[in-house]
Symmetry: C2
Amino acid sequence: MGTGAGDESSDYGQLTPIPPGPRLGIGMDSCVIPLRHGGLSLVQTTDFFYPLVEDPYMMGRIACANVLSDLYAMGITECDNMLMLLSVSQKMNDKEREKVMPLMIRGFRDAAEEGGTSVTGGQTVINPWIIVGGVATVVCQPSDFIMPDSAVPGDVLVLTKPLGTQVAVNAHQWLDMPEKWNKIKLVVSKEEVEQAYQEAMLNMAMLNRTAASLMHTFNAHAATDITGFGILGHARNLAQQQRSDVAFVIHNLPILAKMAAISKACGNLFGLLQGTSSETSGGLLICLPREQAARFCAEMKSSRLGQGGGSGQEGGAGEGQQAWIIGIVEKGNRCARIIDKPRIIEVPPRGLGSAGQEGNNNTGVPSPSDSATIN
Amino acid sequence: MGTGAGDESSDYGQLTPIPPGPRLGIGMDSCVIPLRHGGLSLVQTTDFFYPLVEDPYMMGRIACANVLSDLYAMGITECDNMLMLLSVSQKMNDKEREKVMPLMIRGFRDAAEEGGTSVTGGQTVINPWIIVGGVATVVCQPSDFIMPDSAVPGDVLVLTKPLGTQVAVNAHQWLDMPEKWNKIKLVVSKEEVEQAYQEAMLNMAMLNRTAASLMHTFNAHAATDITGFGILGHARNLAQQQRSDVAFVIHNLPILAKMAAISKACGNLFGLLQGTSSETSGGLLICLPREQAARFCAEMKSSRLGQGGGSGQEGGAGEGQQAWIIGIVEKGNRCARIIDKPRIIEVPPRGLGSAGQEGNNNTGVPSPSDSATIN
């Protein structure tokens, strides 16, 4: 759409010079607008979509985490304001509406609060489909954000959530569709699908805020978040933004347990192993100096913040988050690829409890290893 | 939704004290968030809806004018950034989509440019219906905006666009619906409906920026913009925000020519004369000191800015905008009403030319009088 060309067409008052400072328009996760005030920048993003999980409270949390994630991908940890974008489906009756919408709004607000921000406005309309999304805005110093353009050969790629949310959500729907279920029942049990769905939901609802904070600690060179275009699509997009002649090569794919098997059984329907399966509110893909990456993953793991899901409401005490070193940055022409036979890291679910408002604290299921090593 | 409760729940870094300064949450046109930086405030708003005119370019302009209007209602004349919210209808074929969407986007961007800002991001989804809207954000000093809470007895109420857009848009659709048309054909001609529709479209596309600027010049005490709840609904909402014990009394209703007659012929279907007919991208309703109001209207009229519609693209040269004194502020309990037999001011269309991209400059049709007087 726009290109952030400044306000030279204004007829009002003084001719405003275009403020100096880094500027980012359409194409990456957030836009960055230099302001007229004291070297400050306006960073903001919007995102809205349709529900993909059945629990309206969790859907609200996921929508909020998804919007904030675009700020977190810039290494920004604070948000000054959020607006909520909603539509009520015209197909809902009064009872459904009164039950579903407040839960979705509460989920969104709880996640915003977990992110240290709040929702002060928005817009609600009637629509055939339910819409949920929002706008996240922060005014900050240039040192508060990390422009996603400084990857150099020798960096490694870190991913902060496992892949496979689309497969998990679809497989869960197939539990009630015998024709679809028959295609995958040889490779996965109903319990495993249910667990993967719960785990996907918790992951999607988890804020990428800890990762954003650690990007500064460990001198991240660039990052993006993984959403609709899959890991490879977003890796390519990020590679194109780089100032140096680099290429991103992905060796490892951390995937929710059993989702790779389902994808294969469906004839690679989702492109999960090819890196093109859509993710919702996925992790950050971060370019880090090689010597910092393992420590980044260890810090993620020991973090007691940003648990998301139900447990986040109690202040985020938990076992921390996983992150994986999944690839390397080498010299190249701003492209990205997955190696021929990537290592699939099966990421088991954290727990078997019910998700949603009741909370899902980690319940002693063995954790997978911290991070994979490369070469 | 939210209440702007600050970020006391943040686990990150220092405990951030809530910044001082005026704060406005849900309920009025924009939210106002005090920032941590140099006394600055973040003011932002979002709005999205469905197309109501047939010309996609004009629809884009209207959507943008409608979003910006929430800032203008605060007396804000600058906008640092806009995001665009769009959905493509799944019922459109490729050809329709490729024709309609770029025009709508261009209209939105042109109006943003007229407002001295630009569109740097947004989100587009597929939906059963077309959605168009946006987000407008500015970071400014407290002196740049006027909190909508300072009306005092003795003020007068000024309105900066005529009412009747909903009636005009509907009557225009009825041209092709004999059953509906038969109900109103005794009180209005097809030409008059066509003209009113064109005039409504130009008015909806016109920015309220000049009015926002003059709010400062003439010491406005409070303002809002007229949209979905009609003149009375928004007057009531504004009255409730006031710090003084005031009531708003509306004496005059400036209405697009013939729309009052149509409303009556339909048995007050829209509530136009009762002040409850929905408006889209309507004018500002401004509380001004009595001695300033006539000069405000005169300045609006002589302004060469903010023409909107087609002519705005050439830089806004034109004959200025109308504004009307429509009521008074008296002592009362924060309510608003329309007197029993309000004076209906028939506002004739500016011209007969086609609207839209071709432009519609004023073509010598006599202007109505500047402003109505009261009592």
